[in-house]
């Protein structure tokens, strides 16, 4: 085993201090070291988008970063997006428009969409489809997801 590194990483507003092996992926750090299992791990090579988190506000694949690289940075996972009785408007919209079936891909869609809808408050369908092209869903065929994004945009504009 290689040397351990001390890291201090802010996740969902809470500062976590841990020791990590350099090879520990950020996705596994979130799930195994912090118990934040809302971030899902699908393909582990940057294709499926299930592990998308916000890193200093930008959507990134947490399976394509090492936890040691997040030292001193801020991470937002789906757990930090809203609470069960106080959902984020994007979460509300996915619920109301049936934007999910099994839910495996959903955390990645939600985190991808936060900065997208903040920067594009009234996106076209084409822009929406482009924005979610890095997230794979094997249940819905995307129709309901696109509807959910449109509804989310409406809610966020209101």
């Amino acid at each position: 085993m290689s040397d351990l590194f001390d890291v201090a990483i802010t996740v969902n507003g809470i500062l976590y201090e841990r020791e990590v092996e350099p090879r520990l992926l950020l996705s596994d750090f979130l799930r195994h070291d912090l118990g934040l299992t809302g971030t899902h791990v699908g393909c582990e090579h940057g294709v499926c988008g299930a592990c998308t988190i916000l890193f200093d506000g930008d959507p990134v694949r947490s399976c394509l970063m090492f936890a040691v690289q997040a030292q001193g940075h801020e991470v937002l996972t789906v757990e930090g997006l809203g609470a069960i009785d106080d959902l984020h408007p994007i979460q509300e919209a996915f619920w109301e428009a049936h934007g999910l079936q099994c839910g495996f891909c959903t955390p990645g869609f939600l985190t991808t969409l936060v900065p997208f809808l903040e920067e594009n408050p009234d996106p076209s369908e084409e822009e929406i489809r482009d924005a979610i092209s890095g997230n794979l869903c094997r249940c819905t065929g995307y129709k309901h997801i696109v509807d959910a994004v449109k509804l989310a945009a409406e809610k966020m504009r209101a």
Partner: protein, 294 residues
């Protein structure tokens, strides 16, 4: 899967990074945005003993306008930053048009301009675009720096002239000539996926609106970026009629490239696409060149 163990260094200067690479040679790999290297490590296709992480080297992230009208981009500048930069729109419109076509937003927020080039993937848009734009690459090693033109930088599949102890630190793009138009076209099964084949066209017109210079560079058509020299030669000095463009596209697809077959497409289909895309890209480049002369 998970990457195998490695030793990890996170230098904050180029000098320090090069010293680590010089000490460890082929055992060490520089880690840029990690959007290609980390998947390869997760699959254990790459198992570097030592990673030299460049992400804390602030001096490698910049977009700098040059006095000659050109632009310099630091190797660790993230795709997303290049994509949104106003100077890139003005001085390197082809780069601006290329950025949103690279992978997905989640990759572009982390992936870097220089990382994509140093990785030398023949299907990477920036590899072909940098050749089409006559880019120059600044490389730093223990013995100092050297400049390598883009068309001499790429040696083959995932292979460049970079020695194990060298770093690509900066990319210089010369000023975009007047009366010049450009186009990047690619065909992929799914948007943002690796393309089956793609082509970059850059056309410069002379005062009589004839072709002064043409560049046609293919991606995903061989082991590196493939310049269609014969097609470009056909266009030089010619009036860019539909027939001239058609003839150049056919020459490019039949004589300049030698695509291979795989599970995604046959070589024959790639040649067909190469012809169609070249015709369309040259047409779009011509339209833009004309509108840039008015």
């Amino acid at each position: 899967m998970k990457p195998p163990p490695f030793e990890y260094y996170a230098p904050t200067t180029v000098e320090e990074a090069v010293a680590h690479l010089a000490e460890h040679g082929y055992d060490a790999k520089p880690l840029a945005g990690g959007q290609s290297l980390i998947p390869m490590m997760n699959f254990r296709l790459a198992q570097p003993a030592i990673l030299v992480d460049l992400n804390n080297i602030a001096e490698l992230s910049f977009i700098r306008p040059e006095d000659d009208g050109g632009l310099s981009i630091g190797a660790m500048t993230r795709h997303q930053m290049v994509e949104k930069d106003a100077q890139v729109v003005e001085r390197a419109p082809l780069i601006n048009e290329t950025m949103p076509k690279i992978a997905t937003s989640q990759i572009r927020s982390r992936g870097t301009f220089g990382g994509s080039l140093a990785h030398a993937d023949p299907s990477a848009e920036l590899v072909a675009v940098s050749v089409a734009l006559d880019g120059n690459f600044k490389v730093v090693g223990p013995q100092g720096e050297r400049w390598v033109p883009a068309n001499e930088f790429f040696l083959g599949l995932f292979t460049s002239v970079l020695e194990p102890e060298e770093l690509l630190v900066e990319i210089n793009l010369p000023p975009f000539p007047e009366r010049t138009g450009w186009s990047l076209m690619e065909i992929a099964r799914r948007p943002h996926d690796f393309c089956l084949i793609g082509v970059v066209a850059v056309l410069t017109l002379d005062e009589k609106d004839q072709c002064q210079q043409a560049k046609l560079v293919y991606l995903s058509a061989g082991d590196g970026p493939v310049e269609a020299h014969q097609a470009a030669e056909l266009l030089k000095g010619q009036a860019l009629t539909a027939e001239a463009i058609q003839a150049a596209a056919e020459t490019a697809a039949s004589a300049d490239i030698d695509p291979s077959s795989d599970i995604h497409a046959t070589a024959e289909f790639r040649r067909h696409l190469a012809n169609v895309l070249a015709r369309r890209a040259l047409g779009e480049a011509l339209e833009r060149a004309i509108s840039n002369t008015q």
